[in-house]
């Protein structure tokens, strides 16, 4: 059985700046991991390579066994459907309703497309499903509101509902709670991981809070300077190793670099 996500030797640079210097890791189906790393170490760039929002120079990214590096057009869209993204900035569409935002999750579905995802023309079944997704994040009553009228925590829950509407097999969350206050952040994180476990989804989530990372992630992947330097079950990692990710001296112990999670 192919892994949900398999990244090998992923390299990416912007002009002269090399951001990813060969990233390797594998996520099995249904596995969850938290991605850690200092600001600018390349986490977001790496996550954007997974569905080719950003193209990369070399290495392979396999999603359920399909190499995405050369995909284009319809085939790329099919792969993108498998990866549900949750962004730090929520990325909702401001001028349309919460309900419409959730419906847009089905844009890439077969028989979806723009017309069938517009609130006015969507089939009844899709409209019901969108309401169901909103219900699951506890915001069914906010359906007619404009997205920007909601608080940050609520907006992120709408984004999670949109991701549910997409019904992906893998969830990619890039600092989903970085713009939320601690209480709203914890609630959103609990919601996200509850949905992930109920749907048995594979999840890769970046966080900047070590305590939350250790609480929610069964496995931790640590990046430093464009490489994976820690990849192990959370219980087996000492907190000082994690703190090392944020030290500028580059003194990451060789032991942690070579250690990989027992899967």
């Amino acid at each position: 059985m192919a892994a949900a996500l398999e990244v090998k030797g992923l390299k990416k640079s912007f002009g002269d700046v090399t951001v990813l210097r060969g990233v390797d890791f594998t996520l099995a189906k249904g596995e969850g991991a938290v991605l850690l790393g200092a600001n600018g170490c390349g986490k977001s760039t790496m996550l954007r390579c997974l569905n080719r929002l950003t193209s990369f120079e070399s290495g392979t990214v396999r999603v359920h066994g399909t190499d995405v590096s050369t995909l284009a057009g319809a085939k790329l869209k099919i792969v993108r459907r498998e990866l549900g993204y949750v962004f730090q900035q929520f990325n909702l569409i401001g001028n349309v309703s919460v309900f419409q935002n959730v419906l847009f999750g089905a844009l890439g579905h077969p028989g979806g497309g723009l017309i069938n995802s517009l609130s006015a023309f969507a089939p009844q079944a899709e409209r019901d499903r969108a309401m169901h997704c909103l219900e699951r994040v506890g915001l069914a009553d906010k359906a007619p509101f404009r997205a920007h009228a909601l608080s940050g925590g609520q907006q992120q829950r709408v984004a999670i509902a949109r991701m549910l509407m997409q019904s992906p097999t893998i969830v990619i969350a890039d600092e989903p709670i970085a713009s939320l206050d601690p209480k709203a952040g914890r609630e959103v994180l609990e919601l996200l991981f509850r949905i992930v476990s109920e749907e048995r989804l594979t999840v890769l989530c970046t966080l900047h809070q070590l305590d939350l990372a250790r609480e929610f992630g069964p496995r931790i992947i640590g990046m430093k300077d464009g490489r994976v330097v820690i990849d192990a079950a959370t219980d087996s990692i000492h907190i000082s190793e994690l703190e090392g990710l944020y030290r500028a001296d580059g003194a990451t112990s060789a032991a942690s670099a070579s250690r990989h999670a027992a899967e």
Partner: protein, 271 residues
């Protein structure tokens, strides 16, 4: 430790000078401007005698124009209605056409760099040539009457709106588009699902400005025979019916000001 303080004071770099010597470029521009200005004043041939004559003529015009002659109000009202019709039709078609023009001209939505350059060139041409000249061209093409005026307003509106739409589209935050692209949506879905809604408020504001602009230009387009109240105005002026002309100007004033009020009211509510 006064020495420390003193040392610190020495370490602070001197403040920038109060005045900078102007660059050669600035001097050249200033001299060129002065030359044009002086030449322009000379060209106008301003003499005290001419100024006096102008004031006297203006006084005679006002005397003849007062009181305004509203006897042909029905004709004036009909011409004003035609003007409004021209403006509304022209601006509506123009705004709708501006959207595809703007999408083709924006870096983040254009299908190709060359398409973008070509579209930008077309839009710039539409904007640079004044509406009166477009009206002259369309009068030649489709004959005298409101159609020429409507076509001129369409072109003028695209030149204005497409440019501002495109600027707004290029400012759209990439996040929402990326979110929709991540769901597996196609290019058009992303553009009409994320980019266009994000720009909607600003586009509405620009369009309302375009309406005001179109009504003002619809008034003048008649002067070159492209329909509307301008036709009546130029006829009245040429026949020295200054009192009728004054009535027309007053009707124009009331309608245009009224329309701008309504438009700014809508703009405030939308934005």
């Amino acid at each position: 430790m006064t020495t420390d303080i003193h040392d610190n004071a020495v370490a602070v770099p001197a403040a920038p000078p109060r005045f900078h010597r102007p660059s050669v470029f600035a001097v050249v521009i200033a001299i060129a401007f002065a030359a044009f200005f002086i030449q322009g004043v000379l060209l106008a041939g301003i003499t005290p005698e001419r100024l006096m004559r102008g004031i006297v003529n203006l006084g005679r015009f006002i005397a003849l124009a007062m009181p305004p002659d509203f006897t042909k109000l029905d004709v004036i009202a009909y011409a004003m209605l035609e003007t409004l019709n021209m403006a509304i039709v022209g601006v509506a078609v123009g705004v709708v056409l501006s959207v595809p023009f703007a999408l083709l001209a924006s870096t983040n939505t254009t299908p190709h760099r060359l398409v973008r350059t070509a579209t930008q060139f077309v839009i710039a041409t539409m904007r640079t040539i004044p509406d009166l000249i477009w009206a002259l061209i369309f009068v030649v093409a489709v004959g005298l009457g409101p159609l020429a005026g409507i076509l001129a307003i369409i072109v003028d509106t695209i030149g204005f709106c497409a440019r501002f739409f495109a600027e707004r589209i290029e400012e759209v935050r990439p996040g929402p588009s990326e979110a929709l692209a991540s769901t597996g949506g196609g290019r058009l879905s992303v553009i009409f699902g994320a980019v266009v809604p994000e720009t909607f408020a600003s586009m509405t504001g620009t369009s309302l400005f375009a309406v005001e602009k179109a009504i003002r230009s619809a008034v003048t387009l008649g002067l070159v025979g492209a329909g509307g109240i301008g036709v009546e105005l130029s006829t009245a002026m040429r026949l020295f019916n200054f009192d009728e002309a004054a009535a027309i100007v007053m009707v124009i004033l009331v309608v245009v000001v009224g329309f701008e009020q309504i438009s700014s009211l809508i703009r405030r509510r939308v934005m």
